[in-house]
Amino acid sequence: MKKFFSSALWHGLLWQAIGWAIGASFVTLIRVLMGLNPFATFGFTEPAWVFGGLVGAISFLAGSGALTDWFKWAKGEETPEHHHDPDGWEKYINVSLDHKVIGIQYTMSALLLLVVGGSFSLVFRSELAQPGLQFLTLQWYNTLMSLHGMVMIVGILLGIAGVINYIVPLLIGAQDMAFPRLNAFSFWLAPPAAILLLSSMALGGFDTGWTGYPPLSVRAPVGMQMFFLGVIVAGWSSILGGLNTIATVMRMRAKGMTAFRLPIFVWAAIATSLISATATQLIGLSFQLVMFQRLFGMGFFDPAKGGDPILFQHLFWFYSHPAVYVFILPGLGIISELLPVFVRKPLFGYRWIAMSSLGIALVGFLVWAHHMYTSGMNEYLRVPFMYSTLLVAVPTGVKFFSWVATIWRGKVFGPYPTAFLFILGSIIVFLMGGLSGPPNATVATDLHLQDTYWIVGHFHDTLFGGYLLPFFAAIYYWFPKATGRRMNETLGRIHFWLMTPSFIVLTLLMMRIGLLGMRRRIADYDASLGFGIYHVIMTIAAFVIALSVLIFFVNFFRSMTKGEPATGNLWNSRSPEWQVASPMPVHNYDQPFEVVGDPYDYGLADSVYVRFANKETGGRN
């Protein structure tokens, strides 16, 4: 406990509370001096809460010590290149500059937020099991449903940052990320962002969904502002993380690692970082405009003042559609990265898969208005967006066909490892998400599908198949690299076989009732529609998924100390990180390596991918 109370996390939290109180009191004081009323429904007034929230988030960063080195540099003091991290678990709740520690910090925060967001969904999923309202009020339903969306999104962003941070420097042979202090700073933005997001529940909640469309978001309680602030702070983290990844891959690759000898996951990381570094600003901007409309009465989206609510939707989706590719590109990268290792064959069409990631990222910027076919925007604008949206199917198709060709005639060592099961599950679930996409892209059919449970089923499939299942595959696959022990395979298989089929049932039923008239984001539905039985089955499926996640956590924490030791090249991979012993040394590779071959030449005799300075290893050791 003593270690906790002296940690950066605890100091940050303390400072956030103090900063919040100081900021809010400051505004309240000014209000008193101006003769405005100092208090409102939730204690402080809305401007006081917002300013306090902002000061609190910055105070967290100062209090945790994420800024300390920069302060020292500003004062002209020298700091060591590396900081020595403590040995025990406490290094994960203190500021570390080691990309592997930060990667694990991100991953653990992501798992925590995914559990929180997932629990919200269990609450309102249970509410939906029967028509009528059982135990939630309408406002609580809407708040939990909205927070489920955004907490999951932030959880996904952190999970991606976790995998990229941990694995990209290892894959390219770098000692660390390009900017270790910026890396730590990006991570330490996440806790105050999560606290801001969740604090909205205590301040009246909000009822807009994660999309926060005005005018509804202009009328929602103060909780709405905390949601906006939380997203802006989390988005900051995402932008900086993207920049850091791009710089790292550009500048710190091992000798001989040319563009087409990069591990395929690095291509995905680049594509995703390009989006998050350049598009995230737009969601921050759109939310900031609504904040200002609420705080200062500016009429950006208010028709009575000459504003336009549809403008918000354009700004919002300009990030929020590419954001989907931020979530799935790393997941698809994990599939492409692990598949050759398990099937013992080269990745089929490496260059095409690498280019398809960039293709998806590029086309992703041109499709945002397909979320707005029914919005009342210019009718003719819908047609070009239909063309650009359907184009996404082409690079996505290249990935699927290449995966099939990679698996074809592959020889997997049986019984299938859990990580491989999750890869197969990802392909199937993402295929369901992909195939349910084109009907949303063609305007005529989307006029029926928009804002129904069909859409809910569709995007949950893309995110589970494109992010969550590959994320679990990555954890099962690289867990031994981080800990020197492997996770229990039996529990892993139980996790997979409980989670994936239940999830497929859940989303198929969502699509089924959506087509028949179930709208999304409703707290209650008409009993006469006959959806009751579907909702009962979906609720059971949701709880089976929750059970499987519980089993995963038991396995995860137990394996850290009691798992079967696995210090060697467990998967017989050609990738450089498996050529050295696990767990990874603090400064990664003791010997620099040179890339002398292609990454996935499984089945090619005497082919070597990386050669260490004084020790020949590589493909088959």
């Binding site: 309408l138 406002q139 009822d207 969904g209 469309y213 005018p215 009328r219 028709p303 336009d308 609510p309 549809i310 099937v343 013992r344 064959k345 089929f348 490496y350 095409w352 029914t374 009718e379 047609v383 063309y387 359907l390 184009l391 082409v394 198709g397 699927f400 066909f401 290449s402 060709a405 698996i407 074809w408 005639r409 592959g410 020889k411 997997v412 199937i428 295929l431 084109p438 009907p439 892209a441 063609t442 305007v443 005529a444 059919t445 006029l447 029926h448 928009q450 804002d451 129904t452 089924r512 087509l515 028949l516 709208r519 984001r521 707290a523 209650d524 030449d601 499984y602 089945g603 090619l604």
Partner: protein
């Protein structure tokens, strides 16, 4: 080669079975509008392609995992197949052509949906949190949307507050309703029956309950309903309580205030007039004319106990005479 033939046959078989299965499930609700026919045509084409692609991806994966599975004692790697440029080009070009065809068909069906009948009837639609009201060309307002079968109507829709969306699943078409502008919803009902319009854009607390009946009837039944509504409207306009009732409908008051005692977003109007109302500060007040007039013109002046947390009632732009009519109507609801 043998494997490719077997897989090819299996793909076609699985695709056909998937297609038959999906059709058997009747995925879509009834086709109740002329516009639903092109939508469903495109949808069925989508289902063909989806069935085929599902089989095309899943069958070779499953086949390969079973047929080419690792033999006991074999520790060698699999065959070295790095790629095949002509295959990659094929599965880039063919999907490209397919999506271009789909985009063309999507635009074409959109055109069919938007065919304009210049003689279409116009009905004004007003959406507010959380009610729909429909004003007919004959000059009266109703909570129900009545439509004659086989005749195009265009709904001129606008919102009084936030964004709503007009959706009748059996009509297939959905259109958002915005404040500050008018959006069109053009529909030709082809199937007599009772349907429901459901708000499809999250619009706040009672979004789930923002529905209204849609009745498609024969031209004769429709004309009879219009005539009856018109005469009822002109009779009602003679008395204050009649005018109040019409106002309560056109303003959408009953979206939040029931007249049968059930608790919605606001207090029920049944038995309200003359009763003792407990306020949020614990005091009680008699619901007389003065209290009701104040509550309508300044909704937040006194909050009834139990309604503190619900969304505040907006202020309506009403004349004193209109407010008196509303109070007279509320007084009739015993």
């Amino acid at each position: 080669m043998r494997h490719f033939v077997i897989v090819g046959v299996l793909v076609i078989l699985v695709a056909a079975l998937t297609f038959v299965g999906l059709n058997y499930l009747h995925l879509m609700p009834a086709e109740a509008s002329a516009q639903s026919i092109p939508v469903d045509w495109l949808w069925n084409l989508d289902i063909d392609v989806i069935s085929f692609l599902l089989a095309l991806i899943v069958v070779p994966i499953v086949y390969s995992l079973i047929v080419f599975r690792r033999k006991k004692g074999d520790t060698t790697d699999a065959e070295y197949i790095e790629g095949n440029t002509s295959l990659e080009i094929t599965w880039t070009i063919i999907p490209l052509i397919v999506v271009l065809i789909f985009a063309y068909l999507g635009a074409y069906t959109l055109g069919e949906i938007n065919v304009v009948d210049p003689s279409a009837n116009e009905i004004q639609v007003k959406a507010i949190q959380w009610a729909w009201s429909f004003t007919y060309p004959e000059g009266f307002t109703s909570k129900e949307l009545h439509l004659p079968v086989n005749k195009q109507v265009v709904l001129k829709m606008t919102s009084g507050d936030v964004i709503h969306s007009f959706w009748v699943p059996e009509f297939r078409i959905k259109q958002d309703v915005l404040p500050g502008r008018v959006t069109d919803y053009r529909i030709t009902p082809i199937l007599v029956g009772n349907y429901t319009v459901r708000c499809a854009e999250l619009c706040g607390a009672s979004h789930s309950y923002m529905t209204a009946p849609v009745i498609v009837s024969s031209q004769a039944d429709y004309d009879a309903w219009i005539a009856a509504q018109k005469s009822a409207a002109s009779t009602a306009a003679q008395t204050p309580e009649g005018r109040g009732q019409q106002l309560a409908t056109s303003l959408g008051c009953r979206g939040c205030h029931s007249i049968d005692g059930s608790k919605l977003i606001g207090p029920s109007w049944q038995g309200l007039y003359g009763s003792q109302v407990t306020l949020s500060d614990g005091s009680t007040v008699t619901a007389d004319d003065a209290y009701l007039i104040e509550s309508i013109s300044n909704p937040s002046a006194k909050i009834v106990k139990g309604f503190e947390t619900t969304t505040a009632m907006p202020k309506f732009d009403l004349t004193d005479a209109q407010i008196k009519d509303l109070v007279a109507y509320i007084a009739t609801l015993k």
